[in-house]
């Protein structure tokens, strides 16, 4: 999952609120490690980002779904003073800043970042001096730190998609390829590239190891010549690595997953996101007596036992089963 998710877009009239809410959510995730507060701030930010008109008061914001007492008070404070006491405190705390900085490196999460800060590694420079303390993933994240921070323009992903499809089709004609993530939701910029691949012969029943055999490795070997520059990890079903389209362009994070065909559409739905949309969709599925995850959609029996996975042949079908009006990927932000 990309580290640079940002619900605010250009037409967001409440961008400044979103920014401080996201900053607070980052703080809750990285430093106080309170995932619920993180989610609350995230949700509030995305609700505000989707709101069509500028919020004038905390009272007004409170009417929106996902904004409660505390956040509305914060909006009031921000409107009145132009700043936020809690945020100021966070900014003053060097340790917090260091943790926030280190978590921006791919492969370093809040826990590892906190450990580094405790060990006295506070800046990217410090990390570069102590590369022996990093694992392979973190080293790559560090190597391309600046590049990974840059967002990827849509046109570039389109080109990469083209190359991927050409290479995959040369292995077998029946492969289907989908680039998911914010790209599929029609965003102009993305944080990383998420690619899902499937083939009719790749079945759940084959078991994880046998599934697809060496398909993924073969593909990566092919791409190593043209696109892929580094491999963070590669297994039978998942590849994580770094790619670059041409010498002038920055390095990009690339994930490729080989999905069994029965699970493909659930996976596409899940990896397209957005995360807020996924949550609401799953909640709706539960209301309708189904359970939805990235693998399958299953009906829930009267005793609460989930039934067999429903055979699904398209994304629309999932919406149909759970009686949810179909939303195009662009509408799922």
């Amino acid at each position: 999952m990309s580290k640079r998710k940002n619900p605010s877009n250009n037409s967001n009239v409440n961008a400044d609120f979103c920014d401080f809410l996201i900053e607070l959510s980052e703080y809750e995730k990285n430093v106080s490690r309170n995932i619920h507060k993180y989610n609350a701030y995230k949700k509030a930010a995305s609700v505000l980002a989707a709101h069509h008109k500028r919020i004038e008061s905390g009272e007004e914001a409170k009417k929106l779904n996902g904004i409660g007492d505390k956040i509305s008070k914060k909006i009031d404070e921000f409107l009145q003073t132009g700043k936020l006491k809690k945020l100021e405190n966070i900014h003053q705390n060097e340790e917090v800043q260091a943790v926030n900085l280190l978590t921006r490196v791919s492969g370093i999460g809040p826990v590892k970042a906190a450990q580094f800060v405790r060990d006295g590694l506070r800046t990217i420079e410090d990390l570069r001096k102590n590369q022996d303390k990093l694992n392979h993933h973190q080293n790559i994240g560090l190597k391309y730190f600046e590049d990974f921070e840059k967002s990827i323009p849509r046109s570039e992903i389109e080109e990469i998609e083209e190359i991927l499809k050409k290479n995959i089709n040369s292995i077998g004609a029946e492969f289907s390829v989908t680039v998911c993530g914010s790209y599929r939701r029609g965003k102009a910029y993305s944080g990383d590239i998420d690619v899902l691949i499937t083939h009719p012969s790749v079945k759940v029943s084959d078991g994880k190891k046998k599934r697809g055999g060496e398909v993924l490795k073969k593909l990566i070997n092919k791409l190593n010549e043209s696109l892929i520059t580094d491999t963070i990890s590669i297994g039978a079903t998942k590849f994580m690595g770094v790619c670059r389209l041409s010498k002038e362009l920055p390095y990009r994070r690339l994930d490729i997953r080989l999905i069994p065909c029965e699970q493909y559409y659930c996976a596409v739905l899940y990896f397209t996101g957005s995360d807020v949309f996924n949550k609401s969709m799953r909640a709706h599925a539960l209301e309708q007596g189904f359970t939805l995850n990235e693998y399958s959609l299953r009906p829930i029996g009267i005793t609460g036992v989930p039934g067999e996975p429903i055979h699904i042949t398209s994304e629309e079908e999932i919406f149909e089963y759970i009686n949810y009006p179909y939303k195009k990927p662009e509408e799922r932000n």
Binding site: S32, D76, T303, V305, E317
Partner: protein, 725 residues
């Protein structure tokens, strides 16, 4: 696969006038069916079977229903909740439901498609149908066919319902009587793999929990800061408005959750603390010993007043117990070196160890606090694997490679990544690794007692030295061969290792520094010291607490493979007197020449090792020790006598429950022969057999020993109390 008759309909939610529920009772599939009333989103029916049966397959024909679920129950317990037999299944997709086309669907379920409950016997079925996608149609079931497993011998594959071919047909798997057990049996064939899996699970858990322990929550500190920062601001009105019970009061739901998590973490944090406390109690024991032998201490001071002034408690203690006045110049040097670093108290000592470790592994990725360190040592040196591995990288490789040279190890019960780590350690230590136990093997590295390999090794009748992996780690850390018994995987073979701060754990000095080498002068000095010792008629010794520890004797004696067994001989309860007197005798007879010197020192060190142990255990001399030893009456009397006679070396030694592994079998199985032969045999020849009970005697012995054991406690405590007075 006989079909089970459906007796009658117990109950149902609704029925259509023309399509009544009783149609489901028909044996043949006809045009008649059961439908519910219009506009219901779900309907259900409860059917009574002719008798309670195990369900091997169910064929269901549904009409217009989108989802069907089958549950089972018993008429005897109608209030018990029904159990799922066929989990909710899709018969019609939403599109088909809305079009109301192709309304008849048949599916059959058997084998893996049935839930686990189908293996039990049931006499009632409840079928729940639902059609959430179309409110205007009536829907229901055309037929329900239930099959039970074939009762006698030959099993034909269940006849796939002809109609089922239209839809997805089920696999034809079926349970034969006993088939389940057969499956379980074949699965459990590879016990080794299973055990490995289980250990990996356990280890994972341990690792996880340790991770949790290690990662402190920043939240605490940062929150405090927030409170501190917020506190002054509450005086101002605006802040008061915004920040009243902002993030600090735990009454909101989220904070309650966080609070709970924190409590859990705290509980987990407490666990290591208790361990540390155990270590403290050990120290207390040690101090007691020191008090016991004040006399010797006095004498000590006279002898070595120069060096002992600053010596730490540990050193004193060991010197006290091992009674001797032999202070070679070499050891003086060592002591002098030692005093530079050491202070009174174990804490400092562990600090020093930390420093040493840091020096040797300056690149070690994790800095640990002194507390962590001492905790590690309590565990017999199981600590961060990275740190251990980083020790391999330093320039002591050549020295390390000699540590276990000649040893041949077999790993058992360890899984990756730990297995790989241990293999690397073993190779770095110069040991050979074999995949399975064979005649050439010397040690078995077991993850836990009684692995299959260990049992096989015992069955082979060889000498089996089974140690835990920590042994290798400790050896790497100490850069010398530590006694494997400190890490024996089986309790009865285990010798308690010296306390964490003990110099025996310290890394041995780097390979021959010119000062430490045995020059001719040094040897001369040693010899003179020994002469003096002889003239004073007291058993010789070398003070403990020098840079070298008990384990070093093995290095000195080179290819003598049985050296590790030596402590056992000395510790053997019935033979303590003999061995100590033998040692004393050697001291007297040891004339000039390095060879005899080394023999003497090794013997005395054995005693010293014994007394080290004593110092850990005296006083309340632990209960478990007795249990491990299971001495017989005769050995016990001998022990008491020996203790009285060899008061000097074994003042506390008699009370030390040391010979856990060795004393037992000989005492029980073939007491006299074993004891005598091993005590008298002048050269340490590896005689494997007497170390363990022979299988025949084991059972009877346990019961007999249990009885004796109780009696022994009584005599033992008496003899000890008389001794201590």
């Amino acid at each position: 696969m006989p079909r089970v008759k459906i007796d009658y309909v117990v109950s149902f939610s609704s029925e259509d006038q023309d399509n009544q529920v009783n149609n489901l009772l028909a044996w043949e599939v006809g045009k008649k069916r059961w439908l519910c009333k219009k506009g219901e989103s779900s309907c259900s029916v409860v059917l009574q079977l002719a008798r309670a049966v195990q369900i091997s397959a169910i064929h269901i024909g549904a009409y217009q229903a989108a989802l069907v679920e089958v549950l089972a129950g018993r008429s005897e317990t109608p209030n018990d909740p029904y159990q799922v037999v066929v989990p909710s299944c899709v018969f019609l997709s939403p599109g088909e439901s809305r079009r109301a086309a192709a309304a008849d669907r048949v599916r059959s379920f058997s084998g893996a498609q049935l839930a686990a409950a189908a293996a039990q016997r049931w006499d009632r079925l409840r079928l729940v149908c639902s059609q959430p996608y179309n409110n205007h149609c009536q829907y229901g079931l055309s037929f329900v066919h239930v099959y039970e497993p074939e009762r006698a011998g030959n099993m034909a594959a269940p006849p796939a319902a002809a109609a089922a071919a239209a839809v997805e047909s089920s696999d034809e798997d079926d349970y034969r009587p006993g088939q389940l057990f057969a499956a379980v049996h074949t699965a459990s064939a590879d016990t080794g793999a299973q055990i490995r899996k289980a250990t990996s699970q356990i280890l994972k858990n341990i690792l996880d929990s340790s991770k949790l322990v290690k990662s402190p929550i920043i939240k605490n500190s940062s929150k405090k800061q927030n409170i501190a920062n917020d506190a002054p601001s509450t005086s101002r009105d605006r802040d008061g408005l915004v920040y009243t019970d902002e993030d600090n009061e735990p009454h909101s739901k989220i904070d309650q959750v966080v609070e709970r998590h924190r409590h859990e973490k705290k509980d987990r944090d407490d666990a290591p603390k208790t361990n540390v406390r155990d270590g403290d109690s050990n120290k207390k024991h040690n101090k007691d010993v020191a008090k016991l032998s004040v006399k010797h201490e006095k004498k000590e001071r006279d002898d070595a007043s120069k060096t002992n002034v600053k010596d730490n408690n540990n050193d004193k203690k060991h010197k006290d117990v091992t009674d001797s006045s032999d202070n070679s110049s070499k050891t003086n040097k060592h002591n002098a070196h030692h005093t530079k670093h050491s202070d009174n108290g174990n804490k400092r000592d562990s600090m020093k160890r930390k420093r040493d470790d840091d020096e040797s592994s300056s690149r070690s990725p994790h800095h640990k606090t002194a507390k962590d360190k001492s905790f590690d040592a309590d565990n017999g040196g199981s600590s961060n694997p990275d740190e251990i591995l980083s020790l391999l990288n330093d320039d002591n490789a050549a020295q390390l490679a000699r540590v276990l040279a000649g040893a041949c190890l077999v790993l058992s019960g360890y899984v990756h990544p730990q297995r790989a780590r241990l293999q690397r350690l073993a190779r770095a230590l110069g040991a050979r690794l074999l995949p399975a136990w064979g005649p050439a093997c010397t040690h078995l590295i077991c993850a836990f007692p009684s692995t299959p390999k260990l049992q096989k090794a015992y069955a082979s009748g060889q000498v089996v030295r089974a140690a835990r992996g920590e042994w290798l780690q400790a050896c790497v850390r100490a850069r010398r061969r530590l006694p494997w018994r400190w890490f024996a995987s089986e309790r009865r073979q285990r010798l308690p290792p010296p306390p964490p701060g003990h110099p025996a754990w310290n890394p041995s000095p780097p390979p021959p520094a010119p000062d430490d080498s045995d020059t001719d002068d040094d040897i001369e000095k040693v010899l003179q010291q020994q002469k003096r010792a002889r003239s004073s008629q007291s058993p010789s010794r070398r003070p403990a607490g020098t840079g070298e520890g008990a384990g070093e004797e093995e290095e000195e004696e080179g290819d003598d493979t049985d050296t590790e067994l030596r402590p056992r001989r000395v510790y053997g309860a019935g033979r303590r007197r003999r061995s100590s007197s033998r040692a004393a005798g050697r001291c007297r007879t040891s004339s000039t020449g390095t060879r005899s010197r080394s023999r003497t020192t090794s013997a005395t060190r054995s005693i010293r090792a014994c007394s080290i142990d004593t110092s850990r255990r005296t006083g309340a001399s632990s209960w478990t020790g007795h249990r491990r030893r299971r001495p017989t009456w005769t050995t016990w009397c001998a022990a008491a006598a020996a203790a009285a006679a060899a008061a000097a070396a074994a003042a506390g030694g008699a009370s030390a429950p040391t010979g856990c592994g060795a004393a037992t079998p000989r005492g029980g199985c073939c007491p006299a022969a074993g004891a005598v032969c091993s005590a008298l045999s002048p050269s340490p020849s590896p005689s494997p057999s007497p170390r363990y009970y022979c299988n025949k005697c084991t059972n009877t012995m346990y019961t007999i020993n249990l009885f004796f054991y109780l009696m022994c406690i009584v005599t033992y405590s008496q003899s000890f109390s008389s001794l201590s007075m």
